[in-house]
Assembly symmetry: C2
Homo-oligomer: 335 residues x 2
Amino acid sequence: MSTASLAFSGAGPIAATTRQRVHDAAAELGYAGPNPLGRQLRRGRSGIVGVVVGDALSRAFRDPVTTQVLDGLVGHLGTLDLGVLLIPSASGPTTTTIDPLLESAAMDVAVVMWGGAGDSPVLAGLARRGIPTVLIEGRLAPGVSVVGIDDRGGIEQVTRHLLDLGHTRIASVTLPFDHERRDGLMTSQRLADPAWEITRRRLAGIHDAGVTPVAVYETPASLVEHGATAGRVLLSGPDRPTAVVCQSDLLASGVVLAARELGLRVPQDVSIAGFDGIDLPWLAPDVLTTVVQPLTEKGATVGHLVEDILAGAEPEHRELPVTLRVGTTTGPAPS
Amino acid sequence: MSTASLAFSGAGPIAATTRQRVHDAAAELGYAGPNPLGRQLRRGRSGIVGVVVGDALSRAFRDPVTTQVLDGLVGHLGTLDLGVLLIPSASGPTTTTIDPLLESAAMDVAVVMWGGAGDSPVLAGLARRGIPTVLIEGRLAPGVSVVGIDDRGGIEQVTRHLLDLGHTRIASVTLPFDHERRDGLMTSQRLADPAWEITRRRLAGIHDAGVTPVAVYETPASLVEHGATAGRVLLSGPDRPTAVVCQSDLLASGVVLAARELGLRVPQDVSIAGFDGIDLPWLAPDVLTTVVQPLTEKGATVGHLVEDILAGAEPEHRELPVTLRVGTTTGPAPS
DNA sequence: CGAGACGGTCGAATCGATTTGAGGGACGAT
DNA sequence: ATCGTCCCTCAAATCGATTCGACCGTCTCG
């Protein structure tokens, strides 16, 4: 029945009386409105954006960075009547198993958060299915859109801030280097070449400022507890660094907690800086010195790219700016 | 082409040579595999479970309770090849606007988190579309499945724990009473009847223990900062309570921070208890006394109910147990 | 040697909404 | 009064995979 379609969609010209008649009949027959599947098949569009979260959801969701970007994305997609389908991707060390959803779920566009390495089986799978992809914080690649930030420049900026304060013994706590997600001080060999782009760039930022970290600690995930572990190791050894540059705010918070635990005053005894600019209400009265990235806007930007792609635009790369926010956790180097 | 279907699905009997021939032809034509929309239409199933989050995503995701349940749910649904579609539902005070996704997205079952009141337009909309619904922590209603916990009993238990420690002046910090989400001390009038089931039940638990709170503070959301605000008010007034029972761990953490801020020792000067049993690594060295609910299992239980519903089972109600975990934030009442 | 059984292949109908194009009715204008 | 136009209604084709049933070839057993 084509008239019924018009009656519900309200698209074509239709008499009010006819529409009413259709609606009455529908109610009588217990018809609950158009079946979305039919519409989607006809349109050739599912109205669904798959969001591939490159980590166990439990862990990814504990990071406000992920959730805030997701919020910005959902917010923008909502205005376009696009839904977000959550696709976990447990990319274990050697696991090549791809979530079946990635293989078979209907989606018009895919968004990959924490894309990691460029050779990811996730990206390969999406490419094979011919699904346009937007990457968040990944390596630039042909055919996919990428939204990133100037994290290298941001880290350089915060490192210079520490140099200006007179620090010379600077350590760093990093995000995972690769899917192995090790926990511990870095060997110079492994240090050479992180497989994960984000870790590599943020590490490079320190060198851009002309600094070679006195120690580098790799954590298995951006979580407070891992930051605390790192902090205990870095701050209790001999030749304690006077400043610690962390690749995320959660890690930095952990280091702050470890410092407090060890009886060190922040920032008198040790300066600690983070990255991301998330809310840390429980760190009060301290305010973390950090590089603020526009998280919600990042999500919204991804949404815009998705919109453009659906409108037929070419893949594109966008880089968002970051700003240094000086808080109370960094101060002059102890003399 | 029906043979092609068989070749890809591998379901029916098919000769290896034919399958190979089909695959070759597919590769040559640039055919990327079966279109999920066709399959879904034919099957009459979309393979999608809509998850309605009853709050702004940014806020909901900041609460580990939500994300952990979601993780448990996604984990179980993943084994069933079901995808999770995120549906925000900005239920403002008087807002009746329903997210268009709720009206038009394809989903086989809906899960409503933080369902709130039973008269929710969300539930009404789902019922009208005839979509089976699983409610998390909502009011029992005919036709919908509900997964809940014995929070009333849990609160009673933790209140008795405080009574045993000799406390008599007990205050409470609550979740929102309704969509107004007020922030402040409760008037006895409003206190009478919280519209939101979860708040009502947890409040009732205190009374079950034979206690009438000396003060009740309503917060606009389960977040650390709101707990801190509540703590500052409750703990700085005259006739300071010696114990505070909070309806969530995040709220309790905020109260702990407020107490520290005011120079009060926990638990010597004031005992503080929470609810949920989430990880609070940054509260160290304190361990929150709290009522632990099995969050991941709760999500998995919802997943099971979804599975059963898709298999044709009737709506069902499940209640999960809670356990009291005594930490370092409660102690004998000051004399 | 013939008939039945079986494995494999293919055609056609189906799921449900959309959309195009044709047809019919009513009203206004000449 | 008749023609033209406009507005509405409706039939039919389409999107793509699935599935039932028909058909054909071969193999086996009597």
